[in-house]
Symmetry: C2
Subunit: 167 residues, 2 copies
């Protein structure tokens, strides 16, 4: 997605070293998105080249500390305030469905059925997660789950619609 900007967000809180950014990232996404350690360092290299972060020195344990620059803060604000576009083709299933038309109509029902199955699984999984969460848990994460469930329900509704039209 934008690992680059999430690293800026983490550095906005406080200076950190590479590995701390990896663990901070994974904590933020509650372990649901394991981050390749290499990506942290390659991304930091590019951020440093573009003067969005700096490395003023090392900590007591000799780990290289990164800090966000003013330009980095500005980049972060801009990204946060920029609304996310919702092109029709950002949704990979829609795109697959379009492509399927150019191949044959045979497998469309299979596609739709497979997709619906995974959506149902996702709904069950998120519903379970939601129930497990107590008031002490991350409030934002709860909101995201709520939003994802709304999307998944819209998916089911639509898949039922098009399954009928393809009969």
């Amino acid at each position: 997605m934008s690992v680059k900007h999430s690293l800026l967000a983490l550095l906005y809180e406080k200076p950190r070293h590479g590995y701390e950014l990896k663990t901070g990232f994974e904590e933020m996404v509650q372990g649901m998105w394991p981050l390749n350690a290499g990506q942290v360092y390659t991304t930091l290299d590019r951020l440093e080249r573009d003067r969005l972060v700096e490395t003023p020195g090392h900590d007591k344990k000799d780990r290289k500390l990164y800090t966000i620059t003013d330009a980095g803060k500005e980049e972060l604000w801009d990204w946060l305030e920029q609304p996310v576009g919702r092109s029709l083709f950002k949704d990979e299933f829609y795109f697959k469905f379009l492509c399927a038309n150019h191949v044959s109509y045979e497998n469309k029902q299979v596609m739709i059925r497979n997709q619906k199955e995974t959506i149902i699984k996702d709904i069950l999984h998120l519903t379970h997660l939601k129930k497990q969460m107590t008031s002490s848990h991350n409030v934002t994460m709860k909101m995201l789950i709520e939003g994802a469930l709304l999307h998944l329900e819209a998916d089911v509704k639509w898949l039922d619609m098009i399954a009928e039209m393809n009969n």
Copy 2:
């Protein structure tokens, strides 16, 4: 998204040359996703290297013709049948929202408002498009628009929800 697989889908219909793939792609997405011409040729190079397409020869106008191989067809089927995962973080706004927590709570209301504005614009645009479409138009595209509208409505519902919670 997956330009690679869409090229395979277009070649499944019939052999085509590079530029014809570009125009075929843009026709498929009704001009809503302009494809960089260079990407067609770099993608074709990789497809040829991986033996998913072949170049048996040229047409009368000396344009290099590409055809899909059996391995290419299999790759295409696999892709089409593989359901699309819906990770929480595939949605960039959710991800931004998470990052915003690590920065400050000040700008969240602005984020939500900006996002809602663009969603509303998208809804108006797609509703307009839908009305314009006659029975002669691409049926699949109409379905996609219907699905996108369901998603956008879920977005609005959720944004209203979280805007209230952040008060």
